[in-house]
């Protein structure tokens, strides 16, 4: 009995998190809160008009844009298909180029450190360039048209795809790779037999995802002269031809939704 009493008296209740962690988390929380408050203050200062004019403007805009001019569907169908083709070609090329890059940027497969770091760095630089900037550069180099748009999309999607897929490769089960090596397979056979089957579903899913992004991006790229429906939309807006512009927007909206739906369904089936 005395023993039990003693142990009760000595009972200690340790905090769930160590004090050090608590302090760190609190500091981080207050710093982030501070940044929020600061940026809120600054953006408020810049927003001179506020929301007051927005509602009135909305009605004028609505009046101008509606009803959409259904007559132009025939004329814009071509450029719209061009935009989709742009995305398809760019995604395909990027998907093919990604394979060697992703393998080289995966720490577990590329054990030669300098090669791994070089590939990683190149991919990181690639990813920091916004797609719009890429398009402007390529339009400057090759002139207005689809080709610079496709190039911009390839480089842009390569950055995302190679990064995501190299991370998938790094998460793979290494045991089968060891087994293939132990049975005398060379590097390519090891990759093809033990790595590819493990990565393929994620790979396909990510390619489809990047394809969705590319469809949307290719519309925007048209604004800077990279061909397709964006170019037409930009022109119509420039001519203040709002009913035509509205029709284009509605059409893009419909196409993007359909493609995203199909792609999402496909990706669900894959994983």
């Amino acid at each position: 009995m005395t023993n039990e009493n003693n142990s009760l008296a000595e009972k200690k209740t340790p905090p769930i998190y160590p004090v050090k962690t608590k302090v760190q988390v609190s500091i981080i929380f207050f710093v982030i809160l501070g940044i929020y408050l600061f940026s809120m203050f600054w953006t408020q200062k810049e927003m001179v008009g506020g929301f007051s004019g927005a509602f009135e403007n909305m009605f004028t805009v609505m009046e101008k844009f509606f009803p959409p001019n259904f007559g132009v569907i025939g004329a814009i169908w071509g450029p719209l298909v061009e935009t989709i083709q742009m995305a398809i070609i760019a995604t395909t090329i990027a998907a093919i180029l990604t394979v060697p890059l992703a393998v080289l940027a995966a720490r577990n497969v590329t054990t030669f450190k300098p090669l791994y770091y070089t590939t990683r760095t190149v991919l990181n630089i690639l990813r920091t360039i916004p797609d719009l900037v890429l398009a402007v550069i390529f339009v400057g180099l090759f002139g207005i048209g689809l080709f610079p748009g496709i190039l911009a999309l390839v480089v842009f999607s390569l950055g995302i795809l190679a990064k995501l897929i190299s991370e998938t490769i790094e998460a793979v089960d290494m045991n089968p790779l060891e087994a293939m090596r132990a049975s005398g397979g060379n590097v390519y056979q090891v990759i093809w037999y033990a790595l590819v089957p493990q990565v393929l579903p994620q790979f396909t899913s990510l390619v489809l995802y990047v394809f969705e992004i590319n469809i949307r991006a290719s519309v925007v790229l048209g604004f800077v002269g990279a061909g397709g429906i964006g170019l037409i939309l930009n022109q119509q807006l420039g001519f203040y031809n709002y009913p035509n512009a509205m029709m284009i927007i509605v059409l893009i909206f419909a196409v993007v939704i359909i493609i995203e739906y199909i792609s999402t369904k496909l990706r669900e089936a894959l994983i």
Partner: protein, 258 residues
Amino acid sequence: MIEFKDVSLVYPNGTEGLKKINTTIKDGEFVVIVGLSGAGKSTFIRSINRLVTPTSGSLQVDGEDILNYRSGNLRKLRTKVGMIFQNYNLVKRSNVLKNVLAGRLGHTGTLRSILNLYKKEDISLAYESLKRVNIDEKIYNRADELSGGQQQRVSIARVLTQKPKYILADEPVASLDPPTSHQVMTYLKKINKEDNITTIVNLHFIDMAMEYADRIIGMRAGEVVFDGPVSEVSEKTFEEIYGRSIREDDLRGGADES
């Protein structure tokens, strides 16, 4: 024949995996290596197909020192040394036949293997191997649909398809239940006798080592502390190898059930 001459291995972090190992394994032997985990059993076995590279000494397989082998030679060495792993190491998303055909990779050109253009006799060899371990009805199942014991049998079939001269098995039964363990060991023993394939198995279960081995090598802290035919081994030998008295969990049991 495999000859270890003063083979030592120091890992980059300073751990000594092997310390001056001297031993010879003759053709056709069924050798079981026993020892506690961390004793260097895996390092010993993996040195033979150079999944790890000893840092000094000489290791001869069929009279050739394999320690200075580079990629081309290494591939040739690995085609004649098959390996079985504790976690089966199958490609889970691939079907059984494709997993077994992977045993032919060392004999098949890169392009042929990538396009699945295996020779007819390789495919029938793969099928025969699956038949020998009684799993031929699962040929088109995905590897992850099989039980542990079935997966290990597939990995034995993969090694058989390789037509190796040596089989290395690194704790092949550690993830299996007693009856399945005995089944797997029986297959290994049968293959050793029928095909005269030298077999080296890592085990930590004393009773299984006694039941299946021709010869037992005991390891402790990277050194060979016992080496002799199974007839010379007694419980006392194991106590010496393990450096402690024998416990219940050193035994697999279940020999009668299978």
